[in-house]
């Protein structure tokens, strides 16, 4: 078997932080490579290099033995690479046929030759056993059918290497089975596949050999026969965690602060119950699509829930975000830029947004800017925000870690009882991560509760008193600190074993 794509000491750094480091690996033609790793392991960076979205810092790629340095998505397509992402890149307002031809319509007399594209598209759809007409608007198709249209697009471009990145996240089991069937066909046609997934059972079943990335390095590789799921998990984690997390300075009490009981919302959550005690950091672990962030939004009154009850300090929670804030809740969302900060506004304006009411004086609610400035200065000091002039500097000029401190800081002004932290360390460097963990520890030590949502199991094992595992909208287990076992937690999240 020849190698279709070879990585030769490939590295990519972002601002001298390595994302992929010295990666040497060959992809054999006509085989299926399973690529696994935790979030931030370097999978996306590697894919972006193959796709020509980012250029390597050093090292090189070889395509069928000759140097391959794509300078854009078009170069990659021309070489014969196709991507199928978890978020589909289809135009939902166009037809199936139009989507296939979007990067080059055949024309007759200057107009799109619809007859030709329909006929050709028909042929490809037939090869995939996809029973939809080429004239169907993509928006009317199910997620599974759309996924197959992506595959059709790859076939249309006659791709010899097809990279599937978490393709089953939004598919039903039947649609998934169908996709796997199509993958088998593609392989039989001699095409090469790279399959990226968190669902390790699928990886074991579909792939010929496995490569595991961790912290940008290739840590383990071999034929699938030697790779049982436990070995995959061990290779994916396995890192010395000492010193990454501050020691916990308080002890959780037994007094319940937040009680979620039997909350359901069709298609999102099913019968979710959990409790956060005072002084406790409750870790909530789940993969993408497990319902972890959806639960957070429901807790904060941003989304509705069909049934179940939510109680904070034994009082039932009602209404929207304003009522939840009044009840003593704070929400650091997973989208810092879109939902957390006013990027163009100053640090002070951001810090004061939640608590601004208490600085209003008189019937007009004139802002007492002197005491606001003093209070913001205290926040800057307490949080260790590294900024020059908080009244002048826009928050977008800060680093990710400092931005996140501003988000946490704006809530601290209100002195909330319960913090929901959703992926609080995403896009934050190691040093600032430690500071954010310390903040979480202080908040809990003061007798408040934290619901700490993360897709990084390491940080939950480092910080949480208990971990609740969710998968597909359901709670799979509730594990106390002494029983923390990453393999077991991952198995629950992957539904490898029942709780």
């Amino acid at each position: 078997m020849t190698d279709i794509l070879t990585f030769d000491a490939l590295s990519k750094s972002w601002f001298s932080v390595p994302a992929v480091e010295g990666l040497t690996l060959s992809v054999r033609e006509g085989s299926v490579l399973g690529l696994i790793g935790q979030n931030g392991a370097g999978k996306s960076t590697l894919m972006n290099m193959i796709g020509g979205v980012v250029a390597p810092t050093s090292g090189q790629m070889l395509w069928r033995g000759s140097p391959y340095a794509p300078r854009g998505a078009a170069d990659a397509t021309r070489a014969g690479v196709a991507f199928i992402h978890q978020e589909l890149n289809l135009f939902t307002n166009l037809t199936v046929a139009e989507n296939l031809y979007i990067d080059g319509f055949p024309r007759r007399f200057g107009l799109i030759d619809h007859k030709a594209i329909t006929a050709r598209a028909q042929g490809i759809l037939k090869r995939l056993d996809l029973d939809v007409s080429p004239g169907t608007i993509v928006g009317q198709l199910s997620p599974g059918e759309r996924q197959l249209v992506e595959v059709a697009k790859a076939l249309h471009n006659d791709a010899s290497l097809i990279i599937l990145d978490e393709p089953t996240t939004s598919l039903t089991p039947r649609e998934t089975a169908r996709l796997f069937e199509v993958m088998g066909k593609l392989r039989a046609e001699g095409r090469t596949l790279i399959y990226i997934s968190h669902i390790l059972g699928d990886v074991a079943r579909l792939c010929d050999y496995i490569a595991v990335l961790r912290d940008g390095r290739l840590v383990d590789t071999g034929p699938v026969a030697d790779f049982a799921v436990p070995r995959m998990i061990r290779s994916m984690i396995g890192r010395d965690l000492a010193g990454m997390y501050p020691p916990r300075s308080g002890k959780p009490s037994d007094a319940a602060l937040l009680q979620v009981s039997r909350v359901s919302q069709p298609g999102v959550l099913e019968d979710v119950s959990l409790t956060v005690n005072r002084g406790e950091i409750l870790g909530l672990f789940g993969l993408m699509g497990s319902g972890r962030s959806e639960l957070a939004r429901i807790l904060f009154g941003l989304d509705p829930c069909a049934s179940g009850s939510l109680q904070l300090d034994a009082a039932t929670l009602r209404g929207g975000p304003r009522d939840r804030i009044a009840a003593g809740m704070a929400f650091v969302t997973e989208n810092r830029r879109e939902e957390g900060l006013m990027m163009d506004a100053t640090i002070e304006a951001n810090l004061s947004l939640v608590g601004i009411r208490s600085f209003g004086r008189g019937p007009l609610a004139l802002v007492d800017s002197a005491s606001l400035a003093r209070r913001s200065e205290v926040s800057r000091h307490d949080l260790g925000i590294k900024a020059g002039n908080i009244a002048m500097q826009p928050v977008k000029a800060l680093s990710g870690g400092n931005q996140q401190k501003v988000v946490i800081g704006k809530w601290l002004l209100k002195d909330p009882k319960l913090f929901i932290l959703d992926e609080p360390t995403r896009g934050v460097d190691i040093g600032a991560k430690y500071e954010i963990y310390s903040l979480a520890d202080q908040i809990a030590a003061a007798g408040n509760g934290i619901l700490f949502i993360s897709s990084e199991l390491d940080e939950l094992m480092g910080m949480a008193d208990r971990i609740v595992v969710m998968s597909r909208g359901e709670v799979m287990g509730d594990i106390a600190r002494p029983d923390f076992d990453s393999e077991r937690i991952l198995r629950m999240a992957f539904r490898e074993v029942a709780a």
Partner: protein, 376 residues
């Protein structure tokens, strides 16, 4: 914070950039414009023309202030002009002291609300105040309708206010059958024309002074507009409400999650916009001595939004200051005035205005880029 601030000696370029980014840039620009044109247009700085420029400025300033609030939340209010017309007609039909007998068979308001003896409030003590109150109530209703549609039903402001614009102006024209409602009481007319302080530049021993050589120094419109500007300035820059307005303009989602009463603020902003239109309507109607269904038509909206944007208010929200709008209105009115003095037709004037607004939009882009470089 930036290197330029720490270094003691600063280059010419940096100082030019400071000037460009200053709140007073448009004021400097207006002064420079006058300085350049004055030698060629001697009439520009005569007392008569200065009074004229100012009297044109005050009502436009009030409307533009209302629009500034809407622009600050990232919205737009196209219905201000039609609100001016509607409130003008409503106020006038209530307080008119008599009606033109030729119109009395026109219906719907002629011969019913308006008779030979004027409107229902004619001759009633306090009628001017009641008429103004009615105008404000109508404006609040318009603002509530706009605001509720936008905030509660999440409809786009452009669409909602376009529909109100069309509906209200059609309603106003139908109501009056396109006829002006004249014969307003003196007390009302004084609001648009009355002087509080007048000046006379002629000889002191003149036995008789002609009316036209007495110039207005402080007028009711000036006092009203400046008061509105000061209140609006405080509201936008010093109050919790103002912070909320800016927060919504910069990032509505973040504002919502942070507990900003987003809906209430949006509704209030559209009410402010409509009430400002009604206040301007008082000045316009008083100056024209009639309720006019055609007020605020045509390119009026261009003047309002143009003035705000020239001042530096961003159409994307989150960037607005009343003082910017003040200078923007000043520049815009000066521009119209000078172009008129050059004997250009109204079409030529509008062409130049269009170009200037385009230049202002370009300036906004440049200013934002410069800001970004400075804060990097």
């Amino acid at each position: 914070m930036t290197e330029t601030e720490t270094s003691p000696r600063r280059g010419l370029g940096a100082r030019a950039a400071d000037l460009f980014l200053s709140d007073y840039f448009v004021l400097y620009m207006s002064l420079a414009y006058v300085a350049v044109l004055a030698p060629f247009l001697p009439v520009l700085l005569t007392p008569g023309n200065v009074v004229n420029v100012m009297s044109n400025m005050w009502p436009l300033l009030i409307v533009a202030i209302g629009q500034t609030f809407v622009l600050a939340i990232g919205g737009i209010d196209l219905s201000q002009g039609s609100t001016i017309a509607l409130t003008s007609v409503v106020g006038a039909m209530l307080i008119a002291v008599s009606a033109n007998p030729a119109n009395l068979d026109l219906a719907p308001i002629w011969g019913t609300i308006l008779t030979e003896n004027g409107g229902p409030l004619a001759g009633v003590p306090g009628n001017v105040a009641m008429g103004i109150a009615a105008m404000l109530v109508v404006a609040v209703l318009v603002g509530l309708i706009n605001g509720a549609a936008i905030a509660i039903f999440q409809m786009p402001p452009f669409m909602v206010t376009l529909v109100t614009l069309i509906t209200i102006s059609a309603f106003t024209i139908w109501m009056t059958q396109s006829e002006n409602v004249a014969n307003l009481p003196e007390g009302f007319i004084a609001l648009g024309k009355g002087d509080i302080v007048s000046v006379y530049f002629g000889a002191k021993d003149e036995s008789k002074i002609a009316r036209k050589v007495i110039y207005s120094a402080i007028t009711y419109p000036m006092v009203i507009a400046v008061s509105v500007a000061i209140i609006a300035h405080v509201l936008l820059s010093r109050t919790v409400f103002g912070r909320y307005v800016m927060a919504i303009g910069i990032n509505r989602k973040a504002a919502e999650i942070s507990g900003v009463p987003v809906r209430r603020v949006i509704i209030l902003v559209f009410v402010i916009s409509a009430v400002c239109a009604a206040l301007a309507s008082i000045l316009y109607s008083a100056r024209l001595e009639a309720g006019r269904p055609s007020l605020g038509e045509g390119n009026f909206l261009l003047d309002v939004i143009g003035a705000a944007v020239i001042g530096g208010t961003s159409l994307f929200g989150g960037k607005a200051k009343i003082i910017w709008t003040f200078f923007g209105v000043l520049f815009f009115v000066l521009l119209s005035n000078t172009l008129n003095l050059m004997n250009l037709s109204s079409f030529q004037v509008d062409m130049v205005k269009g170009g200037v607004i385009l230049a202002a939009a370009l300036m906004d882009v440049l200013r934002t880029r410069l800001m970004r470089e400075r804060t990097r």
